[in-house]
């Protein structure tokens, strides 16, 4: 699954770069692609025994290879959710909800952004909430991820109406209105690739 995420991120390089360039510095696509290449290579060579290791390795590799704001932010998003999680052999809705619940907190703590600041948090937090809700409702993994994707998508839309509080768009003020946040877009893309992978591999 993570290899598919990596592939999709690499394919979206130009799209993400373009979104970042509207109100940022245009390197988000390149950064994410670097991270994706790094974790793809690592996941292919290392044998990860459990869910925790996959998330951790993915996050660590992003943090190590990317640099920029998103290296730490997305690195933390992947590795920050499994720190306190008992080792899991398989991924179910409860586990995924727990991971993203923790990781959302970790990213918020690290980046000091909240919903409404026009960052990837605007997609991550609702997606994480959607997972929690789906877990409460006993939904299957595919449906839960689909809910998260939809919530993230709405989050991306939401960022269009916001002025930025963090990152390079901060100084733009009102001029950032109308443009979606690049990092939020990546969050949506990640949930979308998870769902598409599950669709194909069911």
């Amino acid at each position: 699954m993570f290899l598919h995420i990596g592939e999709e991120i690499i394919n979206a390089k130009d799209m993400l770069g373009k979104i970042d360039s509207e109100i940022g510095d245009g390197d988000h696509g390149a950064g994410m692609a670097t991270g994706a290449e790094a974790f793809t290579a690592k996941l292919q060579e290392a044998s990860c025994h459990n869910v925790n290791a996959v998330f951790k390795v993915t996050g660590m590799e992003m943090m190590k290879s990317m640099g920029g704001a998103s290296g730490v932010i997305f690195g933390t998003m992947f590795s920050g959710g499994v720190k306190n999680l008992p080792a899991k052999e398989t991924l179910d809705t409860n586990t995924l909800a727990a991971i993203f619940g923790e990781s959302t907190e970790a990213v918020k703590k690290r980046g000091k952004a909240s919903v409404g600041d026009k960052t990837m948090i605007d997609a991550l937090e609702p997606a994480s909430e959607a997972l929690k809700k789906a877990a409460g409702e006993g939904k299957g993994l595919y449906d839960s991820v689909a809910d998260a994707e939809e919530a993230a998508n709405q989050g991306v839309e939401y960022t269009k109406n916001l002025e930025a509080k963090f990152g390079r768009a901060k100084t733009l003020g009102e001029r950032a209105l109308g443009f979606q946040d690049a990092g939020a877009t990546s969050v949506w893309l990640i949930f979308k690739s998870m769902r598409v992978w599950m669709e194909k591999n069911e």
Binding site: D25, G26, M63, K64, G71, G111, R168, T171
Partner: protein, 335 residues
């Protein structure tokens, strides 16, 4: 846009190789990461680590040396270095006296240096941080401003303080004080191009300029038609003065920094007006530097920086410093 590179992905590594190949007597690469260190740092001093995205040369790679930084952590073009890189550089320069991080206040740099400092703690290395926040138009609140060419002056004070053997807390205090006294404003004349990209970094009509533009092409506060040098300089000074509030008899160090393709010839013409302006206001210019220390590839434009000085800051400003791209010798006496 033509850039003399081989491939985009190799730029930073090849640049570092080329730097070390030129200056291997004095600098070495930090293994496995995009970092370099100065070879001759005097023993038992606080380490100074600077860093940031590549693409602003000579900063950051060219600002390590005697009385300056001991190590430099580099990111990709316009991207903050990774925590790993910063950590390895930190380990290379630490002499048990702790390490001070100095970098411009950008989200990416803050995040990565913060993670690095946590990792350093695990390795039992004390770190402190000063974020440079000199660009007066980028935010109302001093701490929220971004860092531009004033970096060079803050580093000068930090390097001087560390070279004088002060402990980490003192080096940090003085460096933070330098930053508190630091005010810059820039103007963009024409966009640069990021290597590997085919489009310029931003659009600016042929006859317009933008006040307050950032060093990654971040938007400024307003545009106007191109103006004669004196008029343009005066407007920037007035804008800067609104925030800096320089008083008569105050002492300042001045930096006129080119952004890439603006020539030294033009920077001198700007400096001429800056000095006249200071003189008219009885502002005492202790020292001036006209150079292109912090660039944005081949971008056209420049910035003006004032650092207010008191006796304490002057003392560390005057400590000799030397790198291939920044030198400050013993201050000559004026006649």
């Amino acid at each position: 846009m033509k850039k003399v590179i081989n491939q985009e992905a190799a730029i930073v590594d090849e640049m570092i190789e080329g730097f070390i190949a030129a200056y291997s007597n004095d600098y070495k690469k930090v293994p496995d990461v995009k970092g370099i260190t100065y070879k001759h740092s005097s023993p038992d001093k606080v380490g100074i680590v600077i860093g940031g995205g590549t693409g602003h040369e000579p900063l950051f790679i060219g600002a390590a040396g005697e009385g300056l930084a001991d190590g430099v952590a580099l990111g990709n073009v316009f991207a903050a270095p990774t925590p790993d890189t910063i950590l390895e550089v930190t380990k290379s320069v630490d002499q048990g006296k702790g390490v001070l991080y100095i970098y411009g206040n950008y989200a990416g740099d803050v995040l990565n240096f913060d993670v690095a400092s946590e990792l350093a703690e695990v390795e039992d290395i004390d770190t402190e941080t000063v974020q440079v926040t000199d660009d007066v138009v980028s935010a109302e609140e001093k701490e929220e401003r971004r860092g531009i060419a004033g970096d060079m002056f803050v580093l000068k004070i930090a390097g001087g303080a560390a070279a004088s053997g002060l402990p980490l807390s003192e080096v940090k205090r003085l460096t933070a004080k330098a930053n508190d006294n630091l005010f810059s404003i820039g103007v963009g004349l024409s966009p640069g191009t990021s290597p590997g990209k085919t489009e310029p970094m931003f659009e600016l009509p042929e006859d317009e300029i933008e006040y307050g533009l950032g060093i990654h092409g971040e938007k400024g506060i307003r545009r106007s038609k191109m103006k004669p040098a004196d008029e343009l300089t005066t407007e920037l000074l007035e804008e800067l003065q609104k925030v800096a509030g320089l008083q008569s008899d105050e002492e300042v160090a001045v930096l006129i920094n080119g952004l890439g393709k603006t020539t030294l010839m033009e920077l001198f013409i700007v400096n001429r007006k800056v000095q006249q302006w200071c003189e008219e206001r009885n502002i005492n210019v202790y020292d001036t530097d006209v150079n292109s220390y912090c660039t944005t590839q081949d971008m056209g434009g420049f910035s003006i920086t004032f650092m207010k000085l008191d006796d304490e800051l002057k003392k560390y400003f005057d400590v000799p410093a030397a790198s291939p791209y920044y030198t400050r010798a013993n201050r000559g006496e004026s006649e």
